[in-house]
Structures are given as structure tokens and as C-alpha cells.
Subunit: 197 residues, 2 copies
């Protein structure tokens, strides 16, 4: 059985859990407290020198890191990865966009406000502006679509919904982005997601 | 024939060009000047609402963005993607790590110093510290290895070499990371890369 090491409050870690649950892949879960720097202990760094969660330890002890690499690995051969080559490539595009242009703003604003106790006025203005831009781009994409790529749920939806559904923690208002808000509800129902927002 | 829209000075754009060349995929190249904000024109934003290069326009006019998504698409079915499932997953891990923990420091320091004319003393200390950490992690990985994943060149090497080989432009010294320096030389020879550093 695989073991997911993750922090339950981390959207990146939830992606791995949701993908395993959706595909009925049995797993053990080991809590790693990010706020208490448990990703920086010698024991954890021996598993992942990058000091980041989630990681998955496979049956044979080999380790895999990076949330989106983990879900790509778990979902190989499943309907969560489009069979069409172009749709599959667009799914990759959304996964990389999420890590470069969405997570560093939406997740970081949330972390600073909810877990470090910063008021929004002290969050870097660039983080807020780029987070709003990311939500705007998502809203344009989702206007008239059920899911991000193709006709059904894919890893793109799983990766993007993780922090989008918690954007309010970072002071972003999903009601400003109605297509995003409706899509979050659809993905939460479809997966289904039981974690609180 | 596909068309790559990119800036010749951008490592992200070079990844797409090198992958096409390596696989003998014919392509047209259209210059897009990032420094002059040509990724922010209405014409470009109609192709990629994220306002980023590279993009690839396929034969049928459909567009693909995100450098690492582009190279995954171009390389499907080739030896640049490992056949072994775990090696393939590790390659994905390096691609996501590159965009999250390497490019935002190594490439950004280079851009600020070389293209915006900032002295290194004015580059955010966090960028320098995290860039050095990224090179240190790469060096540990490459110590005793020829390539990042498995026994041969993969997309992980193409993605990581792009800005690593130009790290000196951001004030990083590859001679501090001898395993990285030797690997850069190997990848430049193997691809081969003809662009100046």
C-alpha cells in the first residue's frame, strides 16, 4: 500500500488524497505539520530533499514528490487523464499554470492570513493582484464550460480546485467570479470533496 | 507545420525549440519580444490569455502554452519520456520542481540583472538564497549521475538545463556546483545546444 505524507490543511496534499480516493487506490496517510516545520526535519529531508509535502512512498519504498507529479502517476491509465493528445496537453498546461501562476498567489495569501495571522493589508500587493488575475483567467475559461478540459473531470480540475475553493481564506471573493464559483461546486460534488473549505 | 512563438532570450522558449530540433519536428519560429511587452498586446493575449511565451500553434490552429506542457506534448512516444512508470513520474516531479522552485529564482535573478540592469545587491535576498538552494539540490542529485532521471537524456534535463546554464547572468557561480557544471556540459553536447549562454 502507498503512503501519502501530507498536511491535512494543504491543498497540494489534498490533491493526492482526492485522486487516490476517486480511483479507489488504498493508501495510508501520515500527518506532517508544515506550520511546525516538520518538513524540515532530518528525517523528512531524507525522504524529500526539497522539504515539501505531499510525498508518496510507494510499496517498494521509492519516493515521489510534487503534488501534480503524484496525481499524474496515480491517475495513469484512468479517465482523469484525457485520451485525446491535445486535451491531455491542455491538462498539462493547466497543471503547470496552477503551480506557476495560481498557487503562489492564492495559496500563499491564504497561508499568510489564515495560518500566520497577517491582516490582508500586510499581504504583498503583488500577491493579491496576481491572485485576482488568476481567478479572472479561470473565470473566462470556465464561462460556458463544465470542466477545465474536455467534457469531464480531469486532473486539471483536481489541481485547480484545491486552493481555489479556499480562496476566501486569502481575502478573495469567489462571488466576483461566478463561473469559478459554480465550477467549484460541481467539482466538490463530482469528486466528492468532504474537506471543509 | 507547428509554429513556436517565443523570445530567443527566454530559456522557457528555448526548451520548446530544443525539443523540436532533437526530435526532428519541423517548426516555424515567431519572435515575441518579452522586454518590449509583446506578450501583452491584444493580438498575443487572444492566443494566450496568460500573456506568457512560449506558445505553440498546431497545424489546425489550436494553441498550447506552458513550456513544460509543450515539451511533454512534442515528445510523446519518444525516448525523451522514460518508458518506466516510476522514472516517468520522477521526470514529472523535476518538471514541476523546475517551475516552482528553480525558475522563479534562477531565471528571475538573471532577468533582473541582465535585462533590467539591476545590480545583484538590489535583487531580493530571498531570490538569491532560494536560487542557491535550488542549485545545491540539483548538485546533490547529479553527484554520481549522468542525467537527472534514468540512464539517458529526458525532458527533465531539457527543462532544468535551460536556465541553469545561464545562472551566471543572475550572479550564481556554477563552479560552486561541480556536478551541475559537468551535467550542463553533457546536456549541451547531447542535445546539442547552440545558443550562447
Amino acid at each position: 500500500m502507498i503512503t501519502i505524507h501530507g498536511d491535512p490543511i494543504s491543498g497540494n496534499c489534498q490533491k493526492a488524497k482526492w485522486t487516490a480516493e476517486r480511483l479507489a487506490i488504498p493508501f495510508r496517510w501520515v500527518d506532517v505539520d508544515v506550520v511546525r516545520a516538520k518538513t524540515r526535519t532530518p528525517e523528512f529531508l531524507a525522504l524529500n530533499p526539497a522539504g515539501q509535502v505531499p510525498i508518496v512512498v510507494l510499496d517498494d519504498g521509492r519516493v515521489l514528490a510534487q503534488s501534480n507529479a503524484i496525481i499524474l502517476h496515480l491517475a495513469e491509465g484512468s479517465a482523469l487523464i484525457p485520451a485525446d493528445a491535445y486535451d491531455r496537453a491542455k491538462m498539462y498546461e493547466w497543471l503547470f499554470w496552477e503551480q506557476y501562476s495560481h498557487e503562489p498567489y492564492i495559496a500563499v495569501a491564504r497561508f499568510q492570513m489564515r495560518y500566520l495571522g497577517k491582516p490582508r493589508s500586510e499581504v504583498d500587493a503583488k500577491i493579491i493582484q496576481r491572485g485576482e488575475a488568476a481567478l479572472g483567467l479561470l473565470n473566462d475559461r470556465l464561462d460556458g464550460r463544465e470542466f477545465l478540459v474536455g467534457a469531464g473531470l480531469t486532473l486539471a480540475d483536481i489541481a485547480l480546485v484545491a486552493y481555489t475553493r479556499m480562496a476566501a481564506d486569502g481575502g478573495f471573493s469567489l462571488s466576483d467570479y461566478p463561473a469559478v464559483e459554480a465550477w467549484v461546486g460541481r467539482v466538490e460534488t463530482e469528486l466528492p470533496i468532504r474537506d471543509p473549505r
